[in-house]
């Protein structure tokens, strides 16, 4: 009986150590990748979004270029698009009816555009959400 107990114990310990090691590695990888909501630096954003010019770009230009927005606020004064960096060509707009799953590749950003009273671009930002 003592032998049986000893062999059982060894088997359990082996599997526990194996599982523990895998989890520690997995957890360490995850911990290194805390993903906070971060507003991308304006200069970096403007490099990627060179077609956006404050005070000059019109709402119609945006719709023509990027299509229907994902969300709109304050009667359309603020609109947002979801952007992915999964392909090299930027901006890769995720269509408004496209579902975003956890498996969607690459980083995801929200492009926020705020328009002034004359429908000209007043402000914008790129927020990394994942």
């Amino acid at each position: 009986m003592g032998f049986v107990l000893c062999s059982h114990y060894k088997v359990f310990m082996k599997s526990a150590i194996k599982r523990f090691s895998i989890l520690v590695i997995f957890a360490s990888i995850l911990c290194c990748s805390q993903q906070q909501i971060v507003q991308v630096d304006k200069q970096d954003a403007s490099k990627c979004l060179h077609f956006l010019q404050l005070g000059l770009t019109k709402r119609q230009d945006i719709f023509y270029r990027l299509g229907d927005p994902k969300n709109s606020y304050e009667g359309g004064r603020i609109i947002t698009y979801i952007v992915s960096d999964r392909v090299k060509e930027w901006p890769n707009i995720i269509k408004c009816d496209e579902k975003i799953s956890e498996g969607t590749e690459g980083s995801l950003y929200t492009l926020v555009l705020v328009f002034g009273p004359k429908n000209q671009l007043e402000n914008y930002s790129l927020v990394r959400i994942r």
Binding site: F12, A16, V112, V114, V127
Partner: protein, 136 residues
Amino acid sequence: MMLKQRRYIFLIIVIILINSCLYIPTPEHGVGVVPDEAMNFLVPGETTRADVILRFGDPIQRFEEDRFFLYHWKLIDGYLIILDADSPMEELNYLCMEFTHENLLKRWKHFEGGFWFNHPEKQIVEWMKDKELTPE
């Protein structure tokens, strides 16, 4: 002899249980986390709805024609493993905001919900209904 066998069986069961339950604590991590520093930028009466969206992106939920915004994220503190199934120990976090008719931030609150058995949904609903702070 019977007693000795029972002891061994009991010991084996204890070992199996101890071995099959494992909690791995980890530093807090999660996706879409709103850092505490970012919340400092929320000033009632000054911050506009546009400022909030420019800073945090789309809220996860909008209520009453955008009077209320709700941002949500989960913070994982560790993993609980029972037999071969693992479950993250998630702490639910909600950032709630209320805006005025002038599109200014009226008030905000960060709800830290504990784990899955302590959902802050009720507190959020109460907060939204708070008549003293939200006159008709």
